[in-house]
Amino acid sequence: MNIPIDLSLLYPELFLLVWTFVVLVADFFTSEDSKPNIGYLSLIGLIITAILSLSSKQGTTFYGAFRADTFGLSFNIIFIFSAILTVASSIEFAKKNLKHQGEFYGLILFSTVGMMFLSAADDLLILYVSLELATISLFILSAFMKRDLKSTEAGMKYFILGAASSAIMIYGISLIYGMTGSISLHIISLRLEEMLTLSPLFVLAIIFLIAGLSFKLAAVPFHMWCPDVYEGAPTPVTAYLSVASKAAGLAALIRIFYDSLQPAAAQWIPLFMAIAAMAMVLGNVVAIKQHNIKRLLAYSSIAQIGYVLVGFLGDSELAVTSMVIYMLAYLFANIGAFLVVIAFYNKIGSDEITAYAGLSKRSPFLAISMVIFLLSLVGIPPMAGFIGKFYLFSAAIQKGYYWIVVLAVLTSVVSLYYYMSVAYQMYFKTGDDDSKISIEPTLAVAVAIALAGTILIGVFPSSVISAVFGASRAFF
């Protein structure tokens, strides 16, 4: 390493960071009526960042603290896509419901920058700082509707639990540092291999780390904030939270546990097994009796995280690949579902599931897209969700965890019931109002992108899988 600091590896992150400041400054010079232009400006920046990420170099820099590899790249694509879809969906929403629109877009971009650094972190310090950059921006975003009581409540709950979880996580990190004498993920794994037995303190540190990061993922038993925050936060923020923030937590978990704590796998596999099983059962069962669509999607996202965590039992290349593919499928399906919710809310102003009665007549496009997204979340072929679930479960079966796969399939059947009750409202109930619902062009394009992603990954999985497969190579 002659040149330990090679900034060219960071171009996508640095570009987005600079662009965020450009957006914030441009906000000063924009009149109140032309604020939506700030949203378009952010979109342009995100698209350029996506192109830069795809063409960026790979390698490590900052003395091994920052590592740009295929794994980080695949997660970067997930973060950038969810930011693009979120910004595209919030332009109309922000115009109607939010003050300070420039800061709104700026904070979304800041959060994306944090997540991009996170997926490339190869050092507990970078990992912690970038995770906090992502989360602190989200605290503000979830409380962004200042006069809305629910939004304030959401911000408060998210802040208290988020800050507490990061305090728990940092305590775990400090213990790991104390026991291995290093914060570099690579060196920690070397030191771990040298240890003959693990001290109870180290097991405690692993539990603290899992607890802290499970808060970000909203996995059971750390899910309490999730439905309330999802319901209260502005809907585009909820969409972003439900995908990008979870993907960030997952990227951090995969980095920490596959990269550095792998030698202690026997200690953490049972923990992930318990969390995954609880999340699948609780998320799917409680979702049945929800009557607010955002709460329903919140519980469904808890269940989805349960499925993803099954990937930690696999402990193989296939398992890491399948987690990335599942997140990709989940990105398009879940954000897509929220895009429909936003389009509907912009016109009707309601999130109740009963208000969706007769939507198939009022907007056939929105109704059929919603059905496709929900089917993908259940995992019905030929949608993307099926591919994700198929690979996740086969990775777990390879290692002989049959019962958790049986549980996952059974709970998927339960989820079919509540997802289809939404479809039932849209197709077989008639509402009081038969007027057509028109969709703004940006939002329609965003829904179309999400649809295309959901169907294309499902129909042509092999190209995506071969692209992502290199991602897991770094760990094995």
Binding site: R147, L149, A163, A164
Partner: protein, 102 residues
């Protein structure tokens, strides 16, 4: 002469006091202070490990500086949300905000 064990016990106690306050305090400011205690217990760990285990490297001390900075940023956002809560609800008691329940 205190050893690393003493500092570990101190930070463990501090963490437990913070966690206890987090669970029992009803006042939002009190909750914030309890979270600060938890952050600081991690800082004590970092500094003592840095001093006793890796005295030649400054990793732990640098980490502690970052934790302090982030805790301050978090507290700033937290206080802003508390102010928002006071304006909207006229209380800073976390028990009062329960519009949404499952």
């Amino acid at each position: 002469m205190p050893t690393v064990d003493h500092y570990l016990v101190l930070s463990g106690l501090l963490f437990c006091i913070g966690a206890f306050g987090l669970l029992t305090r009803r006042n939002a400011i009190g909750v914030l202070m309890s979270i600060e205690l938890m952050f600081n217990s991690a800082n004590i760990n970092f500094i003592s490990f840095s001093k006793f285990l890796t005295p030649q490297a400054l990793t732990g001390q640098a980490f502690a500086v970052f934790v302090i900075t982030i805790a301050a940023a978090e507290a700033a956002v937290g206080l802003a949300i508390v102010v928002l809560m006071y304006r909207n609800f006229d209380v800073v008691d976390v028990d009062y905000i329960d519009f949404m329940r499952w």
